[in-house]
Subunit: 353 residues, 2 copies
């Protein structure tokens, strides 16, 4: 494969991404929060939630489908239940504001939940639940997305890739779980297509409902739920919980995270709980010996070892913070042109073939 | 296969099961609640949570590991957060009491959660979340269990089969999701062993960590998480959420649902939410057209159709309510002997070979 790539310092990428958002109409502080979230996607090795999302976000800002002037409307329906109308703000900007309120309220009441509508794509859920876990609280986050996944036994894409994320305080680092309920993401299918690689078996159906390893056919078919009927049930459950609580759309009516033409009609639900409130013996060291037991347990034959969810992202992040972000030249050129900046030449990225 | 079976009326089975619990020391109302839950397992085709659990429950009552004299201690830590010490009551008895309080509180506040410790096995989670959904509220239930599942990449059984259940109000019937995070249950492995059948591929490892289809080897090895690394992450997340919030055990320290020698050290977490509180357009008909779209969507080649989670259990239940419960003669004789009853002969079960 012969793709030109550049290695860019994380700070340069942050600056240029924020500048692109500002050029599209975002105010500076919102642009920084959104850019940081895209950079997190790159740092954690989740490119599908990285800088490749920037173009659509700038288009949505220019089209008025995303805005940064109005604050979200936060309404406490009871001491522990927060209803949020994001007024089509950027996802990470709305969510940062919501998390501040959920954390502060949970420190008083032991539990607080938010139901979020009219808000653009949050991006990866992992950083949000991690942020909550880092202050000693437990978080569960659910979100819906465009219908890309077929029901088990069916073949039509009717359910979102609906991720669930869980953050749990632990020493030395929180446990951070973040999983889409599809076997693979659309971004992965596109990456396999570009790389000329086959998809893993069981990850998608073609338009006729037959299993396929061909990413091109998968893109015109449907992604499979992870784990068969159980993953289907879980993904559908998330779709229904989120739609019921937020009043947002279901199935093919969910739009606005991948396009630049529709308002965002997906929803998000975040629940925060304080273990110290109901568990008198709780400390963030409580579960650490159990986690050590798992990490140190014998690997299965052929396995490289046993990991706790979030370990891989953290290694990827630590490494990228040192060595910089490796991006395709095409993507970096695009970001620079969106930022309408001369920055591109001033940072002298190393070009590699 | 040559196993004697009997068909017993549901009412006869209810009566005899309750009598067995009373003979072991349970009071009559608690015995009825517990017996009904075991009958639900049979009715829904989930035999692993059915009458085969009765023997251990009676032994636990006799050994003082389960009791029905003391009410659970319910403490509201804040308006929406309930801490429950079950004082080693029977699971369904404690949980029924907890659900009454959660439902009533959620009707006031829109959200209420319970963290439950020192309580015997709840049984299937499906009937609890269904009960909540039937009064128009949404429920999420999580519970831990004995360590039977290996971490992904590992081979030692260190994680429970930790189920998650979700109930969502809908017309004509609620959506009821209830899934263990293992590929199969230990009960299924035992049933395959008895029937002389191989396990489905990918459901278990032998004691050396190699995949096996042999139920005998699986029972001495570890069950695999459903859906690979994602199912592992979800099962671990449930283990940690429940342990953190309830102060109950993790991993191999979880005991007391399969044995008659240890106090119950698992925990349960139930969260109830009112969609009407944050979604002004909510009615239990809101998601019904989406569910119809899924039910009516085209099946994949070779599939018998598309189902909504809970449909299968309901069909099984409706059918069994009409035709009675088909039990092995061995199990029915055991239950009758536990009940120390002549009932056995008075109901004239049809014996079949």
């Amino acid at each position: 494969l012969d793709v030109m790539s550049v290695t860019v310092s994380v700070e340069a990428a942050r600056t240029v991404a924020a500048r692109a958002l500002i050029a599209a109409g975002a105010d500076a502080s919102a642009a920084k929060i959104q850019a940081d979230m895209l950079i997190e996607g790159e740092l954690r090795g989740r490119r599908s939630h990285g800088l490749q999302r920037l173009k659509v976000l700038t288009e949505r800002l220019k089209a008025g489908l995303a805005q940064t002037r109005l604050q979200p409307i936060l309404t406490w329906m009871s001491p522990s239940l927060l209803k949020v109308d994001g007024l089509h703000g950027l996802g990470p900007v709305v969510c940062d504001e919501v998390l501040r309120h959920l954390i502060s309220r949970t420190q008083e009441t032991g539990i607080a939940a938010a139901t979020i509508s009219n808000t653009n794509h949050l991006g990866m859920l992992a950083p949000y639940v991690e942020q909550v876990a880092e202050v000693g609280l437990l978080a569960i986050a659910l979100t819906t997305s465009e219908a890309l996944v077929h029901p088990w036994g069916g073949r039509e894409a009717l359910i979102g890739t609906n991720p669930i994320a869980i953050g749990i305080p632990a020493k030395p680092i929180p446990v951070v779980i973040d999983l889409a309920t599809s076997q693979i993401s659309v971004g992965q299918a596109i990456n396999h297509l570009r790389a000329g690689e086959e998809l893993p078996s069981g990850s998608a159906l073609d338009a006729h409902g037959n299993q396929t390893n061909d990413p091109q056919l998968a893109i015109h078919g449907a992604l499979s739920p992870f784990g068969g009927a159980k993953g289907y049930a879980l993904g559908l459950g998330i779709e229904l919980i989120v739609a019921a609580l937020t009043g947002t759309a279901t199935g093919k009516d969910v739009r606005g995270t991948l396009d630049a033409s529709s308002p965002s009609t997906k929803g998000d639900v975040i629940i925060v709980l304080d273990p110290a409130r109901t568990n008198p013996c709780w400390s963030d060291d409580s579960i650490s010996s159990y986690l050590r037991t798992i990490r140190n347990s014998p690997p299965a034959p052929g396995s490289s070892g046993v990991w706790i969810p979030g370990d891989g992202s953290r290694r990827s992040r630590d490494s990228a913070l040192q060595s910089g972000l490796k991006l395709s030249s095409e993507l970096w050129d695009l970001i620079c042109s969106l930022a309408d900046t001369q920055h591109k030449t001033s940072i002298h990225p190393k070009r590699q073939t």
